[in-house]
Amino acid sequence: MATLLKIGTDMFLNKGFEYVYGGSGGDKNMNGIPDIDCSHLIQTVLRAGGYSIPYMTTSELNSTSAEKYFEIVPLNQGSPQQDDLILYESHVGIFISFSEVRREGSFLGAQSRGPGIAKFDQDERYGWGLDCKILRPRKEYKVVAIAHVLMSSPGSGSQSHNSIKKRWQTGQEVGEIGCRRWGCIRMTE
């Protein structure tokens, strides 16, 4: 079963995205490069992971209304999992790891240079400290079990894009995430 981290990595890491304020996977500033911001990256990954959780901004994720969809787990080594989100006052990412000995960890998120892996530690050397929340999506909102996420490379005319589309049309894959300017995402069971 693919974790949210695996899905997020496959979809966004080194896939040619940039950050644009309000970017949701399209090309908001019309420069030919797909763009994404932190909360839209999370929403896309949650959806691709089979969760039926509405889009929430980081402000909303920090409010009590988020508790309907997420449980809060402590940041102890071994406690967060790679299906958890790491939430700051104005940033959100997908948890990767945390070491209690070194008091540092890492997460995948949309940062200023685009999606990437960021570090956090108790001294906030990278801008992010230990003053964070770990959010675990509640199981009851997982409506589709996902084994793989297929994503075409950017550029709707590419060979991989066309071959994925063809397989979808013949019903070889199920569960549509969406087709955007930069390509398509669809899941297999």
Binding site: E18, Y19, V20, D37, P54, T57, Q111, G114, R125, G127
Partner: protein, 181 residues
């Protein structure tokens, strides 16, 4: 053989050139107050709201990255209210005249107008011959004109039902801007 000598001479000249350190960045602000002012001015103009302008913000900070923000604070302006330091670290307080918040909703930007002062304390450290901001990881505090520009640029792609609300938001922001002139 001549070719080899020529290549060796060029390499030697390049080596001599590299032995001299590059000139100090004279355009970089010299004091903690000026660094914070430069940082705030860059945000006010809308720098840091995309990858291509991130470096305009990161040049003032110790971090290599900021979040890919989904929220910005709209401000009428800001004033440096106090500063203190010991030559290695410094603290600079800034008072922002906040007029609202602009958030990236699922498909379009959402505006909430809330006028209130906001005080932020910046911590800086000296790195080599430059002062750099270490805290806080401040979200963009953009000017009213920048907010209007963001909303105007989104107008053609929003649903009709939303368009009326968008017009209202833009008018309200223009009124705030004009009141300030």
């Amino acid at each position: 053989m001549r070719k080899v000598i020529r290549v060796l001479m060029i390499a030697a000249l390049v080596g001599i050139g590299n032995a001299f350190p590059a000139k100090a960045d004279t355009s970089y602000p010299a004091t903690p107050e000026a660094v914070v002012a430069g940082f705030c001015e860059a945000y006010l103009k809308g720098e840091g709201l995309d990858s291509s302008s991130a470096s305009e913000i990161l040049r003032y900070t110790t971090w290599a990255e900021t979040p890919g923000w989904d929220r910005a604070i709209i401000v009428r302006g800001h004033n440096l209210s106090s500063s203190a330091g010991d030559g290695i670290t410094a603290e600079v307080s800034v008072r922002f005249d906040k007029v609202g918040i602009i958030e990236s909703g699922e498909t379009y930007l959402l505006v909430r107008l809330v006028e209130a002062p906001e005080i932020k304390n910046f911590r800086l450290v000296r790195k080599g011959d430059q002062w750099r901001i270490t805290k806080p990881h401040l979200e963009p505090h953009i000017g009213v004109d920048t907010a209007i520009r963001l909303l105007e640029s989104e107008k053609p792609s929003i649903p009709q039902a939303e368009a009326a609300r968008r017009e209202k938001d833009i008018s309200a922001l223009k009124a705030i801007r004009d009141r300030n002139l």
